[in-house]
Symmetry: C2
Subunit: 295 residues, 2 copies
Amino acid sequence: MAEKGAKRKSGKKSEAVPLADLLRIPAGRPVDLSSYDAAATPGGPADKSAGLKDTARMGEHLADLQERLWAASTAGDGRRLLLVLQGMDTSGKGGTVKHVIGLFNPSGCRISAFKAPTPEERKHDFLWRIRRALPHPGEIGIFDRSHYEDVLIARVRELAPHREINDRYTQINRFEKSLTDDGVTVVKCFLHISYDQQKRRLLERLDNPDKHWKFNPGDIAERALWPTYQEAYEIALARCSTPEAPWYLIPADRKWYRNWAISRLLLEHLTALDPRYPKADFDAEACREQLLGSD
Amino acid sequence: MAEKGAKRKSGKKSEAVPLADLLRIPAGRPVDLSSYDAAATPGGPADKSAGLKDTARMGEHLADLQERLWAASTAGDGRRLLLVLQGMDTSGKGGTVKHVIGLFNPSGCRISAFKAPTPEERKHDFLWRIRRALPHPGEIGIFDRSHYEDVLIARVRELAPHREINDRYTQINRFEKSLTDDGVTVVKCFLHISYDQQKRRLLERLDNPDKHWKFNPGDIAERALWPTYQEAYEIALARCSTPEAPWYLIPADRKWYRNWAISRLLLEHLTALDPRYPKADFDAEACREQLLGSD
């Protein structure tokens, strides 16, 4: 065993143990968020500078895999990936889209930000608007908030009867199972920040007039419900981290680690999909000659 | 005058004459595409290396202006920008999305690639699917092909009666006028490549199995219609380059120049919009105290 370990290149820890295994929330067990350090950097590079460098390095690899996934879809491969981002206000959902999804070719990304449902959306069941926003074959879908809001804010704010909310966990698991059966790789990331970190980030927004537009006085009222939200998250993470569509807990107090970890998770999942450029369904040599025969 | 000129920093030529003025197709005059060199670099940096550098440098500025535009929309500013990309096969529409739109925050971009209309789209007038894909306030919309296909391939392939196609130019001008009246800055770019350059790019796709998926044997048949397409473009550019929504001719044989020029055009238009972060509609100091008063 010592020999085997010695053969590994030093500094390549993260390739030995998949990050997914470090961050995955085990299925069927209670979750205690207070036991997770939001400033931790599990499996991550040594420091911010190394993290930024490694994330940039991953960018090219991610864009290449995305192109292969897209190319494969043109030949009938129905696979796609869906990244679900959840987290308290200021946890960095928007920053993740900017910095991580910004590494991809924008033409293959389908991004949806879910806010309070519109009157039309309210007329349908809570998964209706979600289904309409799913990635098409070959695409990377990104949900900034998602159907989980219907068991988070809906639970905390009692926006639906308790029994109805309780049923939703089962509906969500069934829905996500149907997605994975249909070729969707579902990567659900909970951006875990600390109560203190949220305060710092809210104050930052207040202290900078250019960031006032990101602030909503209602954020303070939501913050007062922090323990209730944490509890709602614990229940959702415990009940909906399934073998098909597990939740990943991303310590998110450090933005560089958050971006690195989500990039890395996407890289691991896309690498596992191993999408291939499709073989030509035409005679390339004949086309070549035809082209060369023209002017 | 000489003194005024002397005060300008040297090497800032491109800031002296807006690129838009160099590339704009004059309204109401015939267009002769053969008089435009597709390998030219009007107003551009000296060479590829300087071009790549300057495009990267613009990225930060573009993303900043985009954030301001988005922020302004949260306070009711209805303005947005629509980039329309047209050009022959291999002219670089997809590459522009990847490299230029890739400079922006993907969450504020609404990208649509228009292909042959679906059966549902055929049931409606040709602008129906276009209207549904328009950018919302604060967004950057990108059309990879557009309503112009309905006066380009539709004209070349006689997909509609001549009279109907003839009417479409007027409909397009009226439609685009309604967009600009509604706060949409319309930036229409024709990616101009040479017949020879297209041949080289098609051969590149054939020579590299990883690029076969981008090739369609039908591309050769389209290429045989090159002169008819050029003529259809000349008519569309001449009839639809209006003061409100002019066409820009982007020499596109050099990819680095194409990316630089479109980035620069977007920068000029966004700078002219001068979007501002909105003023807070709440009492920031009171919020600050409330936050500091909590734990």
